[in-house]
Symmetry: D2
Subunit: 365 residues, 4 copies
């Protein structure tokens, strides 16, 4: 049942279907006093918008976000912030052929098994458009975190077999694939051309760095910061793997290599290396948080596929229409959004972990 909300102290509830009237989110628990405009949010929305390049669908949504509540005279008031995007370009006809057939790699079958009925137009709730609410909320979280000096750098680490060799932050926005390595991006673009030629699609890996998180965020034992990030990022459709720091490589390493020695740097405790990815025992250690998410290839491909229809008959299907040959570039901002939401929730939850925190606010000493 009720699975469309996320977070404890900073809590979001998203809603909306691909071809319904719109999509949105209610953001509850945002601290009062954050300067927030529609432009702040639109900037994030634009990073996930389709139609940005030939590797994303030609569908043109304005995807214009509207702030409906929770902001007064340009500042958050502490009450719920309702954000909405109206759907405009719906061409329902495009999807009528999938009403009776289960697309491989899609949620058509499992939704039907669960609910008995489903909104088949464009995937309904299981469409990638569902992420609109996540990104709108992520923009709010990121704005608040920015005031604490917490920043995000998120990019495409790899597309199919092509991996970014370097991580030149300034190159991320210089190519349509958001890779921090323009030459890898060119290679990946060529690979995608090849995929499209074969009516096929590709996957990839998104990487996220979070800087400025103070040590102490995350709550043992089930709300470890990495566990919360894993759950948050894995809730994005198409994500099939998540790792932090060395991740799966750590499983092949040794304690002597994988442990990060503590050192004193600028008078503060720091780590000489960061194999842990910024989190120890589920609590941030003050280093950069680094994680990666594996994104599967777009399941909508136009070559013929074998499947079954809702009457139990085996069928061939060819999926036409507007589909990205790779969703990784558009997933970048979604991953960043879920990370921002998770970090802000963790920060708010950490606030009262020491009795002195309470004394400072309420007794004034």
């Amino acid at each position: 049942m009720a699975g469309s909300s996320f977070g404890n102290n900073f809590r979001i509830a998203t809603w909306g279907e691909s071809h319904g009237k719109g999509l949105g989110v209610v953001v509850d628990g945002c601290p009062a006093g954050v300067a927030l405009t529609e432009e702040d949010i639109q900037k994030y929305m634009n990073r996930r918008k389709p139609g940005q390049s030939k590797y994303t669908t030609a569908r043109r949504e304005g995807d214009t976000v509207e702030i409906l509540s929770g902001v007064f005279e340009g500042v958050t008031t502490g009450t719920p912030i309702s954000l909405m995007v109206r759907n405009q370009d719906q061409r329902s006809g495009d999807y009528s052929n999938i009403a009776e057939i289960f697309r491989p790699g899609h949620a058509d079958f499992s939704y039907r098994e669960k609910y008995g009925i489903r909104d088949y137009r464009g995937g309904g709730r299981s469409s990638g458009r569902e992420t609109i609410g996540r990104v709108a909320a992520g923009a709010v979280a990121a704005k608040a975190l920015g005031e604490l000096g917490i920043t995000f750098t998120t990019f495409t680490r790899s597309i199919g077999p092509v991996e970014a060799a370097s991580a030149n932050v300034e190159e991320i926005f210089e190519n349509a694939l958001y890779m921090p390595d323009n030459s890898a991006a060119a290679e990946a673009a060529a690979y995608l051309e090849e995929c499209m030629k074969h009516k096929d699609s590709a996957g990839g890996v998104v990487e996220c760095w979070i800087d400025g998180v103070p040590a102490g965020i995350g709550d043992p034992v089930f709300d470890k910061l990495d566990a919360r990030l894993a759950g948050a990022v894995f809730s994005i459709g198409a994500v099939k793997g998540f790792e932090i720091g060395e991740g799966f490589a750590a499983a092949k390493s040794n304690g002597s290599r994988n442990n990060d020695p503590f050192v004193v740097r600028d008078g503060r405790v720091a780590k000489e290396t960061n194999h842990a990815g910024g989190i120890l025992g589920g609590i941030s250690d003050g280093s950069r948080i680094i994680f990666r998410a594996a994104v599967k290839p777009t399941p909508s491909i136009s070559q013929p596929q074998h499947t079954v229809d809702i009457y139990g008959q085996e069928r061939e299907i060819e999926i036409h229409g507007r589909h990205d040959p790779v969703i990784v570039p558009r997933a970048v901002v979604v991953v960043e959004s879920m990370a921002a939401i998770t970090i802000l929730d963790g920060v708010l939850t950490d606030l009262g972990c020491r009795m002195e925190d309470l004394r400072r606010k309420y007794v004034g000493c």
Copy 2:
């Protein structure tokens, strides 16, 4: 703050420190009518118990579990099931040297930064013994799920560089490392000997199969079944990566290869392949659920390491005492437990997803 509970409808709250009076869990939301004995739980506990082989610590805990509530005449009553293990073998002296020093790869530093103080005896709450509550609760969940025909097969997929080539289920309990491949287990044992000789440690990968889960479990969009499993498994200390089905390999695949064609098998819709790992759009599809978790090398190693003490002085540390050179074999049952808890919670949450479910129970038609 309050991060020691997990689950919505099947909810557990764990407690306890490595060297405190004991550890335990309160299991709330277990349906009434499950036959449950202390032996059911003890069987699970024994799989995580230390002292089972030379690759696990020599510390001998009885780790005898006691059912304190929620079971009447051998059957669950629907009220909270409180389970406890008293600590017996505490040798507090062993750990006194770490009171003032931050062990690399451990949570000593991050706990202190968060809370100001910490129970340094044996790692306190961040010790591996914290998992006792998880396993006790997992045994309860697995017992209930067994009545629905849902079963778990969990094993060590790899240790350091040594991977099980086959997956012979019957071999899992034939070797101390719980590998489904006795010859890989022998090779892994030799590798661990080598690690121990160098006062070093190893990591590995745990794999879990869940059979019998009906299609329809999991709740869009944030409570996707894979997202819940990711969060649950990642909350286990030392887990650094999680993947489902093809996982990270899917990121390098193509849609045409990664999509699982639907077919009709025995009159039911099934999938020809299972790259998805049993979950589509966050909802189980009736296939086997398959996931893997990467476990880092034991951070406690007896070779000298560089670190910092609580006074901000750089120091050398050698960690002696009883430490597993690899924790993967003991993590197997912990991973299975978290999976069982998550699946049962998902099943209970799914119960009311159709109006006809309510009618059937309350109106009788």
Copy 3:
């Protein structure tokens, strides 16, 4: 922080301010398969609408509700139902004089103390218009419950000193005060005229009956059905008391009088009397659920009042504009809505309380 959501398995998140762009609610966890139209919801909305009689504000809002998601071809799909009402008649100027002054009996002071800033237009989030989201969600819950034979009868028990002597259900909608006793309603109307003449206001008591709730709903010990109802109803602004069954009168009674003897009626266990109000030990017993809520007099009165402004200066204030001399009649549907939301949440939560419930759905026996 995040306090604008309510419920576990049936969960609502409301948003909106009195004079913002609109108000609404996201309803998550509604079972799939409920026939639902905007008219179903509008019917509830109209019961709380202002401008219905001279005892409610002259402010004319269309208060037209729009279903934005979660309903496909007239039926709920199990995904979040987003409901919105746009604000139309905002006359912000009316309220400019209260920007700098704390109205007695209102939340102006406490909001400012909490958040530092507040949307002072019409009370912002603390306005009675906040209940729009509650009522929209309540209509959805009531529709689903209706399919299970669960129905609500809610009315004004008293206004000021005037109490309905009888409870003639058919008279409830025959008078503007929703009293089940037309002659008491006439008397109450005269009392309200008197109040208005003195620029004063009145309070009253709302009573709610819930029929058809099967025995077994409610979850010990903190989620007792009456505890959930108490919390739900008390969250409505202006509610100052809540009682179930005999309520405060029970405190003066004796066990011999207050206990309800069990009897066999139509072959089923029933209670001879219903002092308990339909709930025993926090679990419904199959009898009618009966509760009452005390509503305070409207705090906005036009006679001069002593108060303080935001600069800490003592001031006189006269509150003009459109204010109900009594809010009880409009609170009736709000109380019913919160009750419906609570009952449906309780029903959904009860679904898995026996192992046989799980077997019936998943194993089919």
Copy 4:
């Protein structure tokens, strides 16, 4: 299902049956740095202990509480505090006659309808002994709140028809009924003698004052502080009514009398009167919080009662054994405990309601 936990940031999970092995609570989210001993908790436990006077059962439980985790060297560490009381005096035989019969006014019938089975020994989970976990947790919350200057004064306002005319705090502990008026207590004692002579029981009203709560605690709109208190207190078995400030009397008042004028007192904004009971719009206003709870007469009476057995046969029952003729005095500390838990949870939740709170802790300005 899972209804045995309460609270968000300060969260408790209670467990245990009247005649099982014991009862207890896991307290999660207590800030680190609170000095806490078993004596602190025992002091609270003793206030609810039976055998204190002739108006409470002769059953003698040591009810000795043990701290099992979460406290290190006398100070809370921020990890879960597990508290347990072992049952000692169980005389199971006393209750065997009620295994097959539904006691009027008890939860026997509703539990059986819900779960199919029940632990009938002493009422199982629905026994008054269930409150042990609440009181143990309440003691922890009260200790932490004490460090913020927040204190509780809780007493018996009335027993049956006898009401305390005065509220002399110093008299509360001078009589066995915890009334703040020794002469009313004497009168109430005489009334109870009369009840006992007639094999009958009485109810009463508990009143609680909370001083020192800063303005700003409580979260609109569903987590209003009064709504949380109502839900918390109503979850105590036998509570049938709850009111805050003027409560039900407010329903008969007028706005001009019920509104509390704001004034400036000692340079701060204060209220001239406190009809609101310390909470405006769900947020504390800095005044004393005042609420009352109606407690029903003990349902266990030894005079013959009509009822039905589990085979559907009408029967007579006489309940012998150890039963309080009134439970109000023992409920006093339970009410106070639930209030303390609720207030601390509210305080912790309030911590992050302004962006400046976050800046102060993490940026240091």
